[in-house]
């Protein structure tokens, strides 16, 4: 009960935030919520299943282009485009997983990174369709759903919040389900899990596909809500960002990805106002985190004070 109250309470607070935030901050919060969905997906793979991937930019970009290209080329509207984007992210994760999950640890990181780089280069290579480095803007028709113009502040915020809320609650239900326990068992020790009848390959593949569905949803939503798809979203930076969000907020915690995304966003916002070398400040903050709260913020809170936090 306490757990559901906390998570539903956060959704209510975020809903209320639109009434007192300026349009600028409201847009930023919408962006944070979408990126938090991306990080939630990463958390399912890394935080709960122990899969340290460096290829999630590929799933994010698959979602973004999976939604954006049909919208641009064939005039597909926002709803179907979002579904196509989600499926593209999940499908890409399944394809990568079938091959990459034959490796583990550092090898898995390198193989997923390789796939993501291949995806990035493919976007550049097929520039005639993808727009290459410049990308493309999504047509206005693709940025409305049920008569709501998603390019304007309030509908965009509500769409981002809806996606975030669904992602958060599904994630919560998932990790508390038998399958969620399987993921954690695999993360803790594969051989012990095998002794208890769990198939590590299947569990990891399903977890990676779920993670890809989240990343695809975030990529598609990002493209639709902010009106742009570009190759920069397929770079390694977009594989590292969700990892940082998760590490900062707390790997293996439900709210950690959101907290991490929000704090990192705020940190960059503040630091970039102070100096153009703001990444140094961000780096220093991360070093401090590793030193003083290696389990991330919520991970540390859970460990010390609130063991009930999922």
């Amino acid at each position: 009960m306490k757990v559901w109250t906390l998570h539903l309470g956060l959704i209510v607070v975020l809903f209320a935030a639109q009434f007192w935030l300026s349009p600028y901050h409201s847009t930023n919060l919408a962006r944070i919520m979408v990126l938090a969905v991306f990080a939630m997906g990463y958390n399912l793979a890394f935080g709960y299943t122990g899969l340290l991937s460096l290829g999630h930019a590929l799933f994010f970009a698959a979602g973004m282009y999976g939604a954006g290209l049909p919208a641009q080329l064939w005039g597909v509207t926002a709803g179907p485009a979002l579904i196509l984007g989600i499926l593209a992210g999940g499908g890409m994760a399944a394809a990568v997983g079938l091959l990459a999950l034959r490796t583990a640890g550092v090898s898995f990181m390198i193989v997923t990174l390789m796939f993501a780089q291949a995806g990035y280069l493919a976007i550049l290579y097929f520039a005639a369709v993808t727009g290459g480095d410049e990308g493309f803007t999504l047509p206005a028709a693709a940025r409305s759903i049920a008569g709501l113009d998603l390019s304007s502040d309030t509908p965009r915020f509500l769409a981002a919040l809806t996606l975030f809320a669904v992602g958060l609650l599904v994630s919560l239900a998932l990790v508390r389900s038998p399958f969620g326990r399987s993921m954690v068992a695999i993360r803790e020790n594969e051989e012990r899990s095998r002794m208890l009848g769990l198939n590590p390959f299947t569990v990891k593949l399903v977890a990676l596909v779920l993670s890809g569905l989240y990343a695809g949803a975030a990529g598609a939503a990002y493209g639709i809500l902010f009106g742009y798809a570009g190759a920069s979203f397929a770079t390694i930076q977009y594989s590292i960002l969700p990892m940082l969000y998760v590490l900062l907020g707390g790997a293996g915690t439900i709210l950690g990805p959101f907290l991490g995304a929000a704090l990192m966003f705020a940190l960059i916002e503040v630091a970039s106002g102070v100096t153009s070398a703001y990444l140094f400040l961000v780096g220093a903050a991360l070093v401090a985190l590793v030193l003083f709260a290696p389990r991330g913020i919520l991970g540390t809170i859970r460990e010390r004070w609130a063991k009930w936090l999922p």
Partner: protein, 232 residues
């Protein structure tokens, strides 16, 4: 017949450890395995579970072949294994460890209640993480987690190693209860007193084989067979 092993061979790469093990475990009986360090007792249990591939021989449970199955399929056929050193999921709570143990069986409530009745101390520790339990409680949890699979054959690898006498007594009592419930228990044990108290039959291993099998009723402390195979 619960478990029947014939001519089982296995090893680690080119090193042969099991060199033709013949072994039987019956329902409602405790079959102990004894032998000096390195004779292949733990390797034998791992091989039964599919954690080490068999290079030859056969393993049958009620006539169904188990050799060659992937390790994760073996528990679904009725074998459960409690390895030496417990091997729990340390950061998970007692309840979560038990839930993971019961996943394959769909976390049947009746099984869970039976397990908690067997180890009432765990009922008091359900929300505690496994790594914070005492050694004896961890061993209870390791056995309880395996029992959540509702196994027909339970493989225990030195379950009382390093425990205080009161805990040893509790675990031995639980093993006898499982026997009474019809489970075939295979127990790797080094302590003669424990073997004499629990076993129905004792298999003595040497150089990767079960060289002698004796009815436990005919054994006593000081029997030369212990000196021959265990060195005590």
């Amino acid at each position: 017949m619960a478990l029947e092993v014939k001519g089982l061979t296995a090893g680690y790469g080119p090193i042969a450890v099991l060199r033709g093990v013949d072994f039987r475990a019956e329902p409602g009986q405790i079959t102990c395995l004894m032998g000096r360090n390195g004779v292949g007792k733990s390797t034998f249990l791992k091989c039964l579970m599919g954690l080490i591939p068999a290079s030859g021989g056969s393993i049958q449970l009620n006539g169904v072949a188990l050799q060659g199955l992937p390790a994760h399929e073996v528990p679904k056929r009725g074998l459960a294994y409690v390895p030496q050193g417990r091997r729990l999921f340390g950061p998970l709570t007692v309840a979560e460890n038990l839930a993971v143990g019961g996943l394959v069986q769909g976390n049947d409530r009746t099984t869970l209640q039976r397990v908690l009745t067997l180890f009432p101390r765990l009922r008091e520790r359900l929300t505690q993480t496994a790594q914070t339990l005492s050694g004896g409680e961890q061993q209870m949890l390791a056995i309880a987690r395996a029992l959540c699979l509702a196994p027909r054959v339970l493989l225990l690898d030195e379950p009382t190693e390093g425990l205080q006498p009161s805990m040893i007594a509790l675990i031995q009592e639980a093993v006898l209860t499982l026997k009474a419930q019809g489970v075939a228990v295979v127990l790797v044990e080094q302590r003669v007193d424990a073997v004499l108290k629990l076993a129905d039959r004792v298999g003595f291993m040497r150089a990767g084989r079960v060289e002698e099998t004796r009815d436990a009723k005919g054994l006593a402390v000081g029997d030369p067979v212990f000196q021959t195979f265990v060195g005590v």
